[in-house]
Subunit: 297 residues, 4 copies
């Protein structure tokens, strides 16, 4: 009889994803640093474990979905971490967005213990996590990815195997470059439109459907002109991801000029206390610089 | 009995648009600098005139769709121009992408002769012009726009009245800011992806459908990695439009930093003879700078 | 007996330069749009003429020093302009900072009337003009430059003949690129220093004398930290010169990314009414963007 | 009787600096990872020790001058490091260019053992180190700085006490921002000059002495046009320092846009193997982007 699947990290993303594993009738053992966050999943049928290593002892495949590189490191190799409980031949699938080079280092370290590793960061926000419509970018050996696939398909709509370990993370960084530079485009365009005296609602109507269109324009443009800063994706988490982009660009020796500009603008906004606003608050940096505010009259 | 509608300028865009006026059973009088380009439309039922003023003498509403600000100026006020033939109470609708300030000056000059003016630049490329699915951004007095609307609806899918004369042109510039900065995003992202060792086709599959998505990514990303530089929109025309953006930004006193960066990159590519390639050849500037080429292996 | 030398344009720069011609015992005929500005020079021994063409009728060599390209155009070819009064074989030396391409066009037009032209823009500010220590960048035929040299040596310390007509203006634009990007360096450095909690006076002491040093740092750094915005060179005139740089860069097909960034920052400051402050007010754009103010405590 | 002064790290900078301590008749105990580099100093009268801790046992004041943050860390706290040998009341003066935040952490850690710490990074290159004309930027408690001053005055011409521990390092980063953005100015200006057809030697003559002037223009401009890439300061070390600038900017929440642009350009050049060239090879990035080469004909 097959053993249950583990899930470590039940934040907004992880809770939705683990929920979809349950809906797909997988047996799931969960752990979260703040234990109370496991309760809703236990009510849906999950088993709760007291430590990551306790999860590991019951499972051969364990998913991880936490905030940042040091968090994954702690979950894997810290006290009562997964590495302490996993047996030879098991598989860790990391859905966090973290450093590609750290990812490769973890995979090598786990391989020494006979444990496989797949990186599988996701895109699509909390709605995607909840609805099982995430885009999942996967790096790892083909066998390991196939082993993870049934679970991934319960959580995402587009599962793309990019290549070896780490390529999922690099692809996620590519995704983030596009997101923020598209948001830079929206910001510069709306500030220009305001300076030019345009009605911004009509402007969005006119330009969203054609060659100028983007997901950010369609979804965040209306929020900007309504001055609605509630996050789809938090500015401070976006900033963290750009830090990963710039570290990777430095490591690869490739310039990332536009992304770097956005990084600096976000960093200032974050320092001034806007970290909990959405990543579309980027427009505020251009507003301050230009003296024009992209608000619908 | 109603008089025919005029159409001056039968390039790739104008020919498709005038064709749609004919399909909508409007009587159309056409003129083009290179007369032979009128022939296919005459075969579809149009009447050909020998000069713009000859068009004007037969029509109360005349559309213009030419390349650049001086071209519109010549068609309106040059020898045998429209102004020489139009009678009081007639209407000119300019679908070219040209300077907002020149646009306002023309409208004032025509108003002195009792002629109305509407600016109505379009987006959607040659396919949109042919299929009648253009997005049309309209500036002018409400009465004049209503008068033009039946014709505009024959040529476009989205007709947005932005405000007074010139606002259509400003909105088109907003559109172009979005187009080129989104293309900058695609370029920086694909060069980074290549440097990171990713398979670029798989990368596009993974990122196109989500928050990173844009029209440029979906349509030009595949062309970039296939090294297919055939234009959807020519780089040199894109460059001309950015010159209009930067002139307007200067005039309005609003910064346009990202657009300006793209302008400089395009200008170099144009000088080196790539003006007839598509605007997605922008990636070549980043490729040269970085030493990585965003080609599918 | 030799004829007097003409001087058209008696602004801050021109007045000082014409004064130095007088000190060098040249006979000088002057004209200025606002006639009262000629009086101090008449007191020093100059003759005043009622129009540029009246200057031209008395002189074989005429210097021009006015504000912008259209001003030179008017002085040369407008009503009662120099071209109307100069005889064959005469020489115009233009010390204004203006468009290189307009400069070449004027030279060709004057050549048709047998009149020679030299461009000789200057650097060194009002002090340099007054003290005769300007750096003068000269473009023109070698014979014409030699003919102008005795006068130039009365006005400047460094006279550099760059090449044919227009090269003086291009060299002046090179000068302006250096000036403003060096000021960008000063601005970014001082804002960083402030954010890092440094005493700014001590910082200037520590960095001005070495590899980080520049004229802008030594002269404008102390003004910035003392919040003294009196102009050495006015922000709006600097902005005008950058417009010439960007037009020339566009014409040459060479990117000017850093200069372009400064242009956009200055343009916003100018729109907000800071045009009469010095070009070191650039720092205010970075202060607004960053939230840090580079003021000595 | 006073004890000798220690000097750890005898690279190009350290060797010159320790030599000047000897010339000023201080007794000096030295150590270098590659022991042979100590020999010339021993010939000048220095004593050589086998480990940093052996230096520490003979001295109450020890200078450190090594390459990067981890090197200082190793010298201080590694096996046989200074901390193992220094007695209570002694003083470490770090002349390396390293992280301000690491600097503050080291000072706190040493303070627990009763050891004082001063950061004193230097500017002025190998000539400055040899000739004792360095600019030294000092952070630390006033008493500690006074204790170090006699030695600093033997090595530098300008000794500036900025403030508490770490401020010397921050000031050095301010210095590096100025250096590289001034070099960006030189690069953009010379590429523009070349595109404009100017003679570059004459251009340098015309612009170096005035408001456009900088140390980089005067010293590196002629090298650029002569295509002489021998380092004053190595590109890869410059790049390391910019990494410190960007880390500090991130930590402080202050944008550093121009510096960041240079960082990305240097990183590409370094990846392509130009790390051992001088920091003026920055111009090669703009040359590649523009297609113009700033070489004297």
């Amino acid at each position: 009889m097959s053993r249950p699947v583990g899930f470590v990290g039940l934040g907004i993303m992880g809770a939705g994803m683990a929920g979809n594993l349950l809906k797909a009738e997988h047996e799931v053992v969960v752990w979260n640093r703040t234990a109370s966050r496991a309760e809703p999943l236990v009510e849906q049928g999950a088993t709760s474990a007291v430590t990551p290593s306790a999860v590991a002892e019951q499972c051969d495949v364990v998913f991880v979905c936490v905030s940042d590189t040091p968090d994954v490191e702690a979950v894997l190799f810290g006290e009562n971490g997964l590495a302490a409980g996993l047996r030879k031949g098991s598989l860790v699938v990391d859905c966090s967005t973290v450093s590609p080079s750290a990812t490769r280092a973890w995979a090598e370290r786990l391989a020494e213990a006979g444990i496989s590793f797949v990186d599988a960061p996701v895109s699509g926000g909390s709605e995607g996590a909840k609805n099982g419509t995430l885009s999942i970018m996967v790096g790892g050996a083909a066998d390991d990815v196939e082993r993870a696939r049934p679970y991934l398909e319960a959580m995402g709509k587009t599962i793309t195997h990019l290549g070896e370990v780490g390529t999922g993370q690099i692809c996620k960084l590519v995704n983030q470059i596009l997101v923020v530079v598209n948001m830079l485009a929206v910001s510069e365009a709306l500030v220009f439109a305001k300076a030019g005296g345009l009605d911004l609602e009509k402007t969005l109507t006119a330009v969203t459907g054609g060659a100028a269109g983007s997901w950010m324009l369609a979804n965040r443009g209306p929020q900007v002109i309504a001055r609605d800063w509630r996050p789809g994706f938090r500015l401070d988490l976006q900033q963290k991801d750009l830090r990963l982009v710039l570290e990777a660009a430095d490591s690869l020796g490739v310039p990332a000029l536009a992304t770097s500009t956005v990084f600096h603008l976000y960093r200032t906004l974050e320092r001034e206390g806007l970290g909990a606003e959405g990543n579309h608050a980027l427009v505020k940096a251009l507003e301050r610089l230009s003296g024009f505010e992209a608000a619908q009259d």
